[in-house]
Homo-oligomer: 257 residues x 2
């Protein structure tokens, strides 16, 4: 699950204002197996007391604090800034997170990467961005591009941890019932419908075909078929014990088959 | 950017406790272009006052409140629950978000999908899960699987909005400098090194080759080459004006070439 070289990623929050967001960033880091958090000029120096999940407390405790950006990224050979902007005329190359993350992952396998997040209110400054090799952008819609800081961190780390292979990894399809099981279901249901007066003698042949098709479309699963047989047998047993009554077939529902 | 059928997705928060998380969910929905939020038994009925970005306020204002799950998902033909659990013995099929999202996207193109998130503390109950066709799991690490609610919503909606095509969509590689530009850079640098006493007469031939290779490895970009020529010419101009001095070549740095 863990990203190869996860220990080489530095999550760098530049001038974060709200300790809750620092706590949220730490929690997401713990969720995805990243541990190195660096803070540049946090507004609230008491951030270590920020509410965060118990399991991510160690990340806050070991967070490193810097008074400027350069030393916070000094040991990284790739520096990537995040931005909500969609302007192509920025001085630094910009790419969507999907492409950016794949490059970061590649880089992490051998050397350090700093992933920068700006303050809640202003994002990264132009000066912060001048330290970046390139910028990346979460593909939010243009009309509301700016994300909550904790959510932005979570999405970036998720994208780094995401597995391309998993996309096509369907859960094992449950084996469908066999023709014999489907037919047994059909027979039980037909007997029940007969006993219930749903099936007329004059229409029984065509109704049988309709019921058979209806059952096949259910997509009965092999593992469930015994349960269904039990259910139908139980109802049948009850119907057989019921005193005879004048049964009024419901033509409407039969036509809809 | 918007997901095809985004208006058919219902984000359903079951028994959410913290209005801040409801606000965060709404913000992420706005970021990714989803609008239909449903709340089942929210703990705090004043959730509409929750702090959220101004741009996502309309989502909170239109959120629908239900007292039980069934009516909140009645109009959906696919119901998917989210879980932090990794247990394969659940009664409901479970798959990773990457695979799940691709199925949800497919379904959304024609019909309604409910995406369920449980309470912050307990997640979805077994009863809630019995309403689900299947469950999906964000690939967090086993040791700390449980995510913050607002972050989990953000990641799920991001995965739905994510573009497979974008993964390989590199930003247009900046055109590299031509051989002529690289050679002009080399000549200017060599002249500068000569004037600075860095190049000895007796080593100048081999040094020239080293410098040429060094420049090629820089990966000079075509768009930047004029700036570099200007920089080198300016330094050269300054060096030419400098009074002759006894220059001590730095053998160490030359050897490292």
């Amino acid at each position: 699950m863990a990203v190869n070289g996860a220990e080489r990623l530095r999550v760098v929050l530049v001038s974060p204002r709200n300790p809750l967001n620092i706590g949220a960033a730490a929690r997401a880091m713990s969720n995805f197996g990243f541990a190195s958090l660096r803070l540049v000029n946090p507004y609230d120096v008491a951030f270590r007391e920020a509410r965060s999940a118990v399991k991510s407390r160690y990340i806050l405790e070991h967070a490193e604090v810097y008074s400027s950006l350069a030393p916070a990224i000094a040991d990284c050979s790739l520096v990537v800034g995040t931005t909500a902007g969609d302007k192509r005329d920025l001085h630094t190359p910009l790419q969507r997170l999907e492409a950016g993350a794949s490059q970061i992952r590649q880089h992490l396998s051998s050397s350090g990467v700093a992933l920068l997040f700006g303050s809640e209110k202003f994002g990264l400054s132009t000066e912060d961005m001048s330290h970046c090799h390139w910028l990346t952008r979460i593909p939010t819609r243009a009309a509301h591009g700016s994300m909550n800081l904790g959510q932005a961190v979570a999405i970036c780390l998720y994208e780094l941890s995401r597995s391309e292979a998993a996309v096509t990894e369907r859960f094992e399809a449950a084996p469908p019932a066999s023709a014999e099981e489907n037919e047994r279901f059909t027979s039980l249901l037909l007997e029940l419908l007969n006993r219930s007066g749903y099936v007329h003698d004059r229409t029984s042949a065509s109704t049988e075909l309709k019921i058979r098709r209806l059952v096949r479309r259910l997509g009965l699963r092999a593992a469930d078929s015994e349960s269904w047989f039990g259910i139908l047998r139980q109802i049948l047993w009850r119907v057989k014990r019921a005193p005879d009554a004048i049964l009024i077939p419901d033509d409407e529902s039969r036509r809809q088959l």
